[in-house]
Symmetry: C2
Subunit: 183 residues, 2 copies
């Protein structure tokens, strides 16, 4: 599978990749163990903050709670088999990197690995888990971002439920309708 | 603009429309005043719960805090001018329904109006605003859902920032890769 060469990206602009709502691959590590989970329930909560729903049955939750870190990786449609495979495989005892042909790379600010085959990777620190018990909500701050320079608009995948994925379609600019301070 | 005839929809399946990450139009009402806001920062937090980022500068925030209700409406690409117009217009003193050619309809369980031109509308009660101060996060429970029967997969719009919108693309089924209990 294609590996994306990524360069530094402004942490305050990661919304460009997350706000359209793609399925993401969240990698985590703690005490010699590592894991990946497929995630569809996430939102921006500020320009460099992301809220993520991590169910208490997800093996990754324990690794993230202990390490208080993760990497949010943005896969494109060419990774659909890995996206589904990772999502449908339960963590302990399986190295999902090996099982689904994904390559871990060392992050700079966190212990969790980047995924080389993903278009963009955002290193995150857990800053709030006060709603983890009630809503499985974890709030992360992005402390370091990496993204491929091309294509400008990645063909991300978006989950519709029921086994159906939507692939990112046409991009249309309406910049003329926005005042500069709104962009 | 086209009005969608909507029928009752299972509140536990609204993720089918929200999980792909579309821009939504959130309507609210309180004390004879009503408003609409364009929203890109939201996530499922359970099958019938939605977390929404509502900035303290949004006029709608006051209406929602006071009424503790809203309607989440899902627009399609034919409404792009209204989506942008609503998003770029500040609330007080403007009737956004009239200004952008949108038709309010009476909801069943909440005081905020449905938008007839939207493909789906979800009546919501505010159930948690404990993180409103820190993260502008409001958690809603959907108590009544309405959706058009066709097309099955609406052409939603997804914001990439910088004045650029992505239009929902191809839909691909991978049901064969999911066990029945995962669907």
């Amino acid at each position: 599978m294609k590996k994306y060469r990524k360069t530094d990206f402004d942490v305050n602009k990661i919304r460009r990749f997350l706000e359209p709502g793609p399925v993401i691959l969240v990698s985590s590590a703690h005490g010699g163990e590592r894991n990946i989970m497929t995630m569809g329930w996430h939102t921006m909560l500020g320009y460099d903050h992301v809220g993520c729903y991590i169910w208490d049955q997800n093996h990754s939750r324990g690794l993230i709670e202990k390490s208080r870190e993760c990497v949010i990786n943005v896969p494109t449609f060419d990774l659909i088999d890995a996206v589904i495979g990772v999502g449908n495989t339960h963590g302990p005892g399986v190295d999902k990197f090996a099982a689904f042909g994904l390559t871990p790379a060392k992050a700079e600010a966190v212990g969790a690995p980047l995924i080389e085959e993903c278009y963009a990777s955002f290193e995150c620190k857990l800053v709030d888990d006060s709603q983890a018990g009630r809503y499985s909500l974890f709030v992360f701050e992005c402390v370091k971002a990496h993204a491929a320079a091309a294509p400008k608009y990645p063909k991300t995948v978006h989950y519709r439920g029921d086994g159906v994925f939507m692939v990112a379609g046409e991009n249309k600019s309406y910049r003329r309708k926005f005042k500069p301070e709104m962009l």
